[in-house]
């Protein structure tokens, strides 16, 4: 399939949503794409979380960085964005970039080549990643949008953020389904965590208090084939 065809298919699949007037696609793989801006946003990659825990004696499989990059590679290949924004906590800790296996570093650099790449500073990685290209910023304003890691406490229009790792839960027919999700009320959007080892926090948790207009809050839950838009009233805590 040619790129143009693939793109058409992707765009037809998803119903674009509006964030402060900008058209965006919530991709079921957990990235946000703005077709007019040719901008792809991804949040909370938490690269090298495995080795970060291994340092403290929990030897979980060292494949998370590879797995996360593989998935990132796939979405970048599909959308071919001109701009990529990694919305903070790109590395699980400040030493992550330095610890990264050479093969992974090469893969990451190949992904970055030919694009404008922004590392938004996160609480896990406040400084620029060691010896990697791309520009490190505290936050970034593009058009009517502003990209930052932590959602601001005051309500702002057009903010895209991460940090909270949102997920949502519904109960249907006595069964419970919990998925990562995008959480948005039309004005701001909190993105799901993309990293392979990242956990998640229910959008009804107190940590989200005051962020959204309840009546228009939607959880865009990540399904295996598509995104499911679920309204606030159907969501369950826990």
């Amino acid at each position: 399939m040619t790129f143009a065809l693939a793109m058409t298919a992707l765009l037809a699949d998803a119903d674009p949503i509006g964030i402060a007037g900008e058209r965006a696609i919530c991709d079921r793989r957990g990235v946000l794409y703005f077709p007019e801006l040719r901008l792809l946003a991804v949040s909370d990659l938490h690269l090298e979380k495995g080795s970060s825990l291994a340092r403290r004696g929990t030897l979980i499989p060292p494949y998370d960085t590879g797995a996360t990059l593989l998935r990132l590679q796939a979405v970048i290949a599909d959308y071919q964005p001109a701009i990529v924004i990694s919305l903070g906590d790109s590395f699980h800790d400040g030493g992550g970039a330095a610890r990264m296996h050479a093969s992974f570093r090469e893969r990451l650099e190949a992904l970055m080549a030919g694009r404008d790449w922004f590392w938004v500073a996160g609480n896990h990685d406040p400084d620029a990643p060691a010896a990697l290209p791309g520009e490190t910023v505290r936050e970034l304003a593009i058009g009517s949008l502003v990209f930052r890691h932590q959602p601001s406490a005051v309500r702002v229009e057009g903010e895209v953020s991460g940090h909270l790792h949102p997920c949502a839960r519904i109960v249907q027919q006595g069964r419970s389904v919990r998925r990562r999700c995008f959480a948005g009320d039309g004005g701001r959007m909190v993105m799901p965590a993309f990293g392979a080892y990242t956990g998640s926090l229910n959008v009804l948790d107190r940590a989200y208090a005051g962020l959204f207009r309840r009546e228009t809050l939607m959880a865009y839950m990540l399904g295996t084939e598509r995104i499911f838009a679920i309204s606030h009233a159907m969501l369950r805590p826990g």
Binding site: T58, H101, I170, V177, A196, G223, T224, F228, I230, S231
Partner: protein
């Protein structure tokens, strides 16, 4: 005389059967059987013991003397005896007599170490033994110390025990693991003579048993002359336990065996109810008035059920009819400890008339005077029934009285089969499985925490434990590698290794912190994620309320299906769900008593292979129907008339249309777990054949699949043929493909990850909640499976799942049994035999439908409401 014997020649094995004594009181006299007298000639109790027995007009029982003789001959021994046969005293007799003959410690002489280690599966049992053993020890006038060491023992006492060990230490498998992981283990155990293992039959079948067997192997290395004494209820394969007790180097070694049979035969009956026996369900609500009148007629009644929800329901129902307000109590493992202890205490004081309980092990030890056991629901296994009934009348010489209450019609058949089995003395305890690699990983780290080890030595030592006798070196080395660096193909973690191979060829812990973490995470008991159930404080309102009483713990998975305002039963009350906050579930009392009790675990145990076969035999033999209640026999006659009854080795498959769907019902009688696996695999195959299956439901007896296409017609046209559909090859690729995504495997992986130490249950200074662990192990599983599918931990997970949650081994046996024996009956409508499982549809969660379908339903509702589509 009582010192260590240097000469340990192995006597030829003579199993000593004490016969089916009609009057077990004979066992109190030693001289009844000449053969025994001859054997026991060399054994004499020390004078104080004889005096003690004589003062009470007692004499030691034959098996007690036999055990003493065997132990004094330097042999390890397994004693199999029913409850009330004086097992515990028998187990301690070699230690007590030896300690009695030991000269006292002179001033200035070094302190002696532990002489006897007693290990039981229950903390409570250890505490109980301390009390029960202390009395005779004092009365005989023995000067020896007995102490317990459990998770509840305060740190200062444990510290003191290290410096001044008691002669007899009563403890649990986890504590043994901790003791051998301590740097002073060798010194601590240097004087050890005996290890007494109580309730061995219940220990050996689990991962706790695997860990314990490795601990024993370690002890045998530390103290080469060590003898073991196993105490067990009756089991199907005593030889497995006999091997378990001794070193398997040379292979096949066995402990001596002493079997005490008999005791009075229990009087067991099946309730022949005046009421209509339901087609399906597990509540047995129909029988409540009849159960109540039995309670009134007896002093103390013990009511056993299979699940907590059944316990809750039965308790509610009994109180609904309890016009005389008899003291009836509830006891199960989820209740708050304080409440459980209160119930146990009241029980011991004979203050209760009835107690509803889930499992013998949940309960404390002091039973009071139980004169009736009521078993509600089918017992699922003949051995389990025997053990539960054994709880009534702790004295061996009086018959126990028991009534079985089948909850539905299939259970009537099952109860009948169990009852016949009990009379035949049939046993169906599960066969032992190979030791888990996750457990081995934990043990390897524990050994390193104790002392540096050489891999060759540890490998040889581990193989002396029966569950690990067939372990190969390659696998062992992979486990050691896993403990060191995670054992990943990508060698990324060398610098973070937990144990390191030094130049001297010894593996050492790389950091003292590792040992500290190990001690916090020892053991194989993984708790299901559960939340406290707490009352919303009376009078307070809104989300800020807290501080009410805790009622107990309840599984998170169940709570997740509840919505604010739902009512459910717990702790004998109907409660209203008020939400979850900070890992606690808040509830209030719900006035009125109509609880919406959603599905909450059907049977905890699957039907045993043995009982399943008995049920099939019964179906095939109309002569035996005479023993069944009339309404049940009628049901079977109807089935014979409308469809057909399967022959004992046949598999009956019925197909019929109903509503706008087509149903296929199979009757393998192989237990819920195996049926669930079969259901998963069959729906995959039917889907490929174009039958468009929608879902399935599995019970202990049958499996029902429903579809959009006419499966009956497809099977008759041999597209596909039944033989092809049920071919054994489904256990190959189909199983692999399905397993890959199954939550069952993720659950199993979580346990393996926790036991093996990949993930910590507890970290110094913090408790991980079940939720946090679940999420992360699921993610780890996904990553590991796609990047290193042959990793040792995935290997351990698959092995576990095959014997555990999936019951693949049993399914495999069934598929091979039914080759050429599948009977297909195509019907115009539902058959009588199919009614029970058809009623389960809608009550049980339906498998085979993707979670996405549920999301789709939810999303569609939104779209409709919003008018976007």
């Amino acid at each position: 005389m009582w010192g260590r014997r240097k000469n340990r020649t192995r006597s030829p094995f003579v199993p000593i059967l004490l016969g089916d004594c009609a009057a077990p009181r004979y066992l109190w006299r030693v001289t009844e059987q000449p053969r025994l007298a001859e054997q026991n000639a060399a054994v004499r109790l020390p004078e104080p013991f004889l005096k003690w027995f004589a003062q009470r007009g007692w004499s030691p029982r034959a098996h007690q003397m036999e055990l003493l003789a065997t132990a004094q001959a330097g042999q390890s021994v397994l004693l199999i005896a029913p409850t009330g046969a004086g097992k515990t005293l028998a187990g301690f007799l070699p230690s007590l007599t030896e300690l009695a003959g030991r000269p006292g410690r002179r001033p200035g002489q070094a302190r002696r170490g532990i002489h006897t280690l007693y290990i039981s599966p229950l903390k409570a049992l250890a505490v109980d033994i301390e009390r029960n053993l202390g009395k005779p020890v004092e009365e005989i006038g023995l000067s020896l110390t007995i102490e317990t060491r459990t998770g509840d023992t305060p740190a200062h006492k444990r510290q003191r025990q290290k410096l001044a060990p008691p002669d007899i230490l009563l403890t649990t498998p986890e504590q043994l693991a901790l003791l051998i992981a301590a740097p002073d283990a060798r010194r601590f155990f240097e004087d050890l003579r005996y290890v007494v293992l109580d309730e061995l039959h219940s220990l050996v079948t689990s991962k706790r048993g695997h860990l314990l067997s490795l601990g024993l192997a370690r002890l045998r290395s530390l103290v080469p002359g060590l003898q073991t004494i196993g105490l067990s209820a009756t089991v199907a394969e005593p030889d497995e336990l006999r091997r378990w007790l001794v070193s398997q180097n040379p292979p096949g070694g066995m402990a001596e065996l002493i079997v005490v049979t008999g005791g009075a035969k229990p009087e067991i009956s099946i309730l022949d109810s005046e009421e209509h026996v339901p087609w399906a369900g597990h509540s047995a609500r129909y029988a409540t008035p009849e159960i109540y009148s039995e309670i009134k007629r007896h002093k103390t009644t013990l009511l056993f059920v299979n699940t907590r929800s059944q316990a809750e329901l039965l308790f509610q129902e009994l109180w609904r009819v309890n016009e005389d307000t008899l003291p009836i109590a509830l006891h199960h493992g989820s209740l708050d400890v304080a409440q459980r202890r209160r119930v146990e205490k009241a029980m011991g004081e004979n203050a209760l008339r009835a107690i509803v309980a889930t499992s013998t092990l949940d309960l404390g030890i002091d039973w009071g005077d139980v004169d009736l056991v009521v078993h509600v629901g089918a017992p699922k296994g003949a051995s389990r029934l025997a053990q539960r009934i054994g709880r009534a009348n702790h004295r061996m010489d009086e018959p126990s009285k028991a009534i079985l209450i089948p909850a539905n019609r299939f259970e009537v058949l099952e109860c009948r089969a169990a009852l016949d089995a009990n009379y035949l003395g049939a046993q169906d305890t599960p066969p032992l499985v190979n030791g888990g690699l996750d457990v081995l990983a934990q043990h390897v780290l524990g050994c390193a925490c104790g002392a540096p080890f050489h891999a060759d030595d540890l490998f040889e030592e581990v193989r002396t434990a029966a569950p690990y006798a067939s372990l190969d070196r390659l696998t062992f080395d992979r486990v050691v590698d896993f403990v060191a660096t995670g054992g990943y193909a990508l060698k990324n973690y060398e610098r973070y290794a937990r144990i390191r191979l030094n130049k001297d060829g010894l593996w050492r812990v790389s950091n003292p912190r590792i040992a500290q973490q190990y001690r916090l995470n020892v053991g194989t008991i993984i708790e299901v994620p559960a939340l406290n159930v707490r009352y919303i404080k009376a009078g307070s309102k809104g989300s800020a309320s807290r501080g009410g009483r805790v009622l107990g713990k309840i599984e998170e998975a169940f709570l997740e299906t509840l919505t604010h305002g739902d009512t459910f039963m717990f702790a004998g009350k109907v409660l209203r769900f008020g939400g979850i906050r900070d890992n606690e579930c808040f509830v209030s009392n719900a006035p009125g008593s109509d609880a919406k009790v959603p599905y909450y675990g059907g049977g905890k145990f699957p039907l045993s292979t043995y009982l399943a076969e008995q049920v099939r035999i019964m179906l095939d033999d109309p002569q035996r129907w005479k023993k069944l209640p009339e309404q049940v026999a009628d049901w079977l006659r109807f089935q014979a008339d409308k469809s057909v009854l399967p022959k004992r080795d046949d598999l009956l498959i019925e197909t019929f249309p109903r509503g706008n769907r087509y149903y296929l019902v199979a009757y393998p009688f192989e237990g819920r777990l195996a049926h669930q696996t079969l259901g998963m695999l069959l729906t995959r195959r039917l889907d490929r054949a174009g039958a468009r299956p929608l879902g399935f439901v599995a019970t202990d007896y049958a499996l029902a699949i429903w579809s959009l296409a006419d499966m009956g017609r497809m099977l008759r046209a041999k597209k596909p043929s039944l033989a092809a559909l049920l071919d054994q090859d489904m256990l190959g690729d189909d199983l692999e493909a399905w397993l890959a995504d199954s939550w069952l495997l993720k659950r199993t992986f979580r346990n393996c990850a926790l036991i093996s130490g990949l993930i910590e249950k507890r970290h110094p200074g913090q408790e991980k909640s079940g939720r946090q662990v679940t999420v992360s192990t699921d993610l780890i599983y996904d990553v590991l499976r796609s990047h290193e599918p042959d990793h040792i931990l995935l290997q351990a997970t698959r092995a576990d799942a095959a014997t555990g949650l999936l019951d693949v081994s049993r399914l495999a046996e069934m598929l091979s049994r039914i080759q050429g024996r599948i009977v297909h009956k195509h019907l115009e409508q539902i058959s009588p035999l199919a009614v029970p499982i058809m009623l389960e549809i809608g009550k049980m969660p339906v498998h085979g439908e993707a979670d996405d379908t549920l999301l789709m339903d939810a999303a569609t509702l939104v779209e409709e409401a919003m008018g976007t589509k």
